[in-house]
Amino acid sequence: MTQPTDDSLMNRFDEHGLRRFRARDAIASVLLAAVLLVLVEGAAIRRAGEQMNPGIGRDLVLLVGEPAGWLADQLPLAGLASDATAWLSPDEELAEADSFDVAAQQTGGALAPVTAAAFDPAEIGAEPEPRRPLGKLLVTGDSLSTPLDVQLARRLSSRGVDVVRDPHLGTGISKSFTVDWGQLAASQVRRHRPDAVVVFIGANEGFPMPGAGGREVECCGADWAAAYATRVRQMADTYRRDGAARVYWITLPTPRDPDRRRIGRVVNAAIAAAAAPWRAQVRVVDTVPTFTPDGYRDAIDVRGTRTIVRDADGIHLNAAGAALLADDLLDRIERDFVYERGP
């Protein structure tokens, strides 16, 4: 009968006199490490507890963490340890020249500062500018601006407002074939000096345009959108007359034709981007939620009645649609202006 072997592995060390530490030494080492951690990183225990969800676990951690943190706060050990190990995770190199303060003092830099005009007071809960008298309103654009211009003229002529209607049928911002809208906008402002301008254009877009670097870009990628937005921004800047006028730029209601839809989507995005620097002066009037909230449709509910609001071409608003848009526009205009005569 064989005797069971002793599987106490510690005997191997004891036999050769190799065991140098006792179990109590291990316990002492753990306690020493715990004390050192409390002294050096006691604040970390407290921080960890504070970040925990309320409960018994958090209470237990804070029970230890708060006195440990207090103790660590009294000693300089945390700072010394941080300095000693800083090389393990060095800070980013921050150049003074890149600071906000220095950048703000630089003039002629490539980065234009955002001005107060970029914020519509109504959107940020700030005090709005006092309403001004509306003497002259210019309504312009391509064929989309008709019959909207007639609807606005009907409503405003009795209120003492001079409504100038200046549609340019078949024209577009992306084409200078018939008219260059950059030149036309400048000419309109010189001639009429309007207090407010309503712009409704975009039915004839999608033509190639010179993009950045003069290279011609085809519709309808980001390069084309950027080129279109640049032209819109130039026009909006002209119409706003250094802040003396208000501009109401109307987005395209979604057209029926899929090719036109693709163009219209880019045009609307470009309008929003172009108007960004002057949201206090250039209002983007979005027709999509009213006329085409879920894609193209001929008819919508107007005051409880199903009403056809689009022309047969699937592009333009008809008289009923234009009347609805005119009501919406007047609501916006009346936030900025008062009329010289009552209704």
Partner: protein, 117 residues
């Protein structure tokens, strides 16, 4: 002698008046209001020279009918009202923009249009 000078002066004045009267008819083109577009689009400009606006509008509409005989993207390949017409198009999938020049001797009709396709 004085009588001859007066006569010469009168003749010179008459010549100048005749030249002045003839100048507008032979020089620059006149802008006319274009007719209403029969289809989906617009006539965006109309200019005539050595011919009246009414004739210009007639030629414009005749050319429209000719070119759309073969659809919205069609072209006119024959003379209209005795005019020979050429066209310079700028097209994208949704529309055509074009300048049409029609000539008959010294008479000229130039119009531009935008046709939705």
């Amino acid at each position: 002698m004085i009588h001859q000078i007066r006569l010469g002066g009168c003749l010179a004045a008459l010549c100048l008046a005749a030249i002045a009267a003839a100048a507008p008819a032979t020089a620059s083109a006149a802008s006319c209001s274009p007719p209403a577009y029969p289809g989906s689009g617009y006539f965006t400009s109309l200019k005539v020279s050595h011919v009246g606006c009414k004739s210009g509008r007639t030629v414009t509409l005749a050319h429209y009918r000719c070119r759309t005989e073969n659809g919205k993207k069609g072209r006119c390949k024959r003379r209209v009202r005795g005019y020979r017409c050429s066209e310079r198009r700028n097209s994208i999938p949704t529309e055509i923009n074009s300048r049409v020049t029609c000539k008959k001797g010294s008479q000229r009709v130039v119009y531009t249009y935008q046709q939705n396709t």
